[in-house]
């Protein structure tokens, strides 16, 4: 890694600690998180490097990293950290901060998947997998992967052509609306780039 970093005594470590609800500053670089990370080989910055970059205030590097989007939330790092830092929650907080600040992720697919998934929950109260997959494929333009698996999955009853709605779908829409308000409150009213799992035009159709 040839990036030159200078000490930037920013408030980043405090902000991330506050949003993740865990003391990021307590990390002393033992690398135990990195050693156990199943996704490490595919990451641009390893989990312990992400922690150190947060200490250094290297906001652009952290929020623009591939790693925060590749984290599988397996909680191995959180379980093993000798300082009881909830590292998986740090990854979640960094993802939310990246969205808030409109940082373009190096690989947009995980975020597109999250939107498609939540759009489906918002509409039906539950995930409707066929609709969610269609919405994800349209967003990501990853149109052909796994299409070959669909006929067998349909034959085995693993996909349904029709959504199974929850009777509480209306209540769920209200929960989404209020959760977005909570998100805006946390960021301070009026900040741009708010995350909202808005349904796509297609999902909005009755």
């Amino acid at each position: 890694m040839s990036t030159t970093l200078s000490w930037n005594n920013s408030s980043l470590v405090d902000e991330v600690s506050q949003r993740a609800g865990t003391p990021v500053g307590a990390c002393f670089q033992c690398h135990k998180c990195t050693t156990g990370c199943p996704i490490g080989p595919d990451m641009d910055f390893l989990p312990s490097q992400i922690m150190r970059l947060v200490h250094l205030g290297a906001e652009a590097e952290v929020l623009g990293s591939q790693s925060i989007w590749l984290c599988a939330s397996c909680e191995t790092c959180t379980t093993r950290c000798p300082m009881q830092i909830d590292i998986a929650a740090v990854m979640d907080a960094l993802r939310m901060m990246a969205i808030d600040r409109q940082v373009t992720p190096p690989n947009a697919r995980p975020e597109q998947f999250n939107r498609s998934f939540l759009g489906s929950v918002r509409r039906h109260g539950r995930v409707y997998e066929m609709g969610m997959m269609a919405a994800y494929k349209l967003r990501s333009l990853d149109l052909f992967s796994d299409v070959g698996k669909v006929p067998a999955m349909l034959a085995k009853g693993k996909l349904s052509l029709l959504p199974k709605r929850s009777g509480s779908a209306k209540e769920v829409r209200e929960v989404f609306r209020r959760a977005e308000e909570e998100g805006r409150r946390e960021r301070g009213e009026g900040s741009g780039g708010s995350f909202s799992p808005e349904p796509t035009a297609r999902e909005k159709k009755p």
Partner: protein, 294 residues
């Protein structure tokens, strides 16, 4: 014994066989399940990666419904289980979290509903001795790698019914029904979870590692208790072999399907036909082909 049952979205689609076998096994053992009326999605990883209030509120909507029914919750999906437990943990440990959850759902919730996983219910609530007494057909000679994945045991202060690094409840259950749980080192390694859709090459790498190790340590099938683990090891097994080298076809069964076979339930009761890697040849070889018909 009675529980408010939370199936979760996967159990209505890719994991319908987990739902069917869970209901069948609980029925056979006399564990009463009352499905939470109008349950909603727990939000899973997309919610906790996107909006902190939503990630707590969606599980809490379900917990509020269970509280009205006055029952503890039993979940089958490991991810739903972890999200429900995490929401409870947050509501119980922080007044701010509780206030936010109540504002977001529009209803009170004190964190008072207990949440259990079906494996916990079977092994620790119902009990292995009582299960062993109900076995009609011991799965003698079947060598099983018990795969717990991530969220049944992590993080331990939240899920907490087994050891985070060396869980054994599924191994004990496999022993109680007469099969052999192999000693293998990847019980709690991650399968890649929801990267399945977005980075399937990572899932192929992790899946290949798990399947090869299961085989190397003598297992001929894998037992799981999570719909994502099942899909990533079963539906994506061919992708893993294509990308990283041949592996003998290895059936990946839900623990409830294996238990159901031992209890004498039929293939149909257990949804055995839903598996992508067919288990019938292996079960037939061991003289365990289940009776057909309901």
């Amino acid at each position: 014994m009675k529980y408010a049952y939370f199936p979760g979205c996967s159990l209505e689609s890719t994991a319908w066989d987990f739902d069917r076998s869970t209901r069948a096994v609980c029925g056979a053992l006399g564990i009463d399940l009352e499905e939470i009326p109008d349950w909603v999605c727990c939000g899973s990883t997309p919610a906790h990666a996107s909006n902190a209030a939503l990630a707590v509120a969606l599980p809490v909507v379900n917990l509020q419904k269970a509280q009205s029914a006055g029952l503890p919750v039993m979940a089958a999906c490991a991810s739903c289980y972890a999200r429900l437990r995490t929401a409870n943990h947050k509501v119980r440990s922080s007044p701010e979290e509780r206030e936010q959850a109540e504002r977001t759902t529009g209803k009170p919730y004190d964190g008072g509903v207990e949440v259990h996983h079906v494996l916990d219910v079977l092994v620790n609530h119902f009990g292995l001795e009582k299960i062993a007494a109900k076995v009609r057909r011991r799965l003698r000679g079947l060598r099983v790698a018990c795969y717990y994945g991530c969220l049944l045991t992590r993080p331990p202060e939240i899920v907490a019914f087994d050891d985070a690094e060396h869980p054994h409840s599924m191994d004990d259950l496999i022993g109680a029904i007469g099969a052999e749980a192999v000693d293998w080192p990847f019980k709690t390694e991650c399968c890649g979870a929801s990267l399945s859709m977005t980075s399937s090459s990572i899932v192929a790498r992790l899946g290949h590692r798990l399947l090869s190790m299961a085989r190397e340590t003598g297992a001929e099938c894998i037992a799981v208790a999570c719909p994502l683990c099942q899909v990533n090891l079963d539906l994506r097994q061919a992708d893993a072999a294509k990308a990283h080298g041949a592996i003998p076809a290895t059936p990946v069964l839900y623990i409830t399907q294996l238990l159901g076979l031992a209890l004498g339930l039929s293939d149909q009761d257990l949804g055995i036909s839903a598996l992508t890697i067919d288990a019938k040849a292996l079960l037939g070889d061991r003289g365990l082909a289940a009776a057909t018909g309901g």
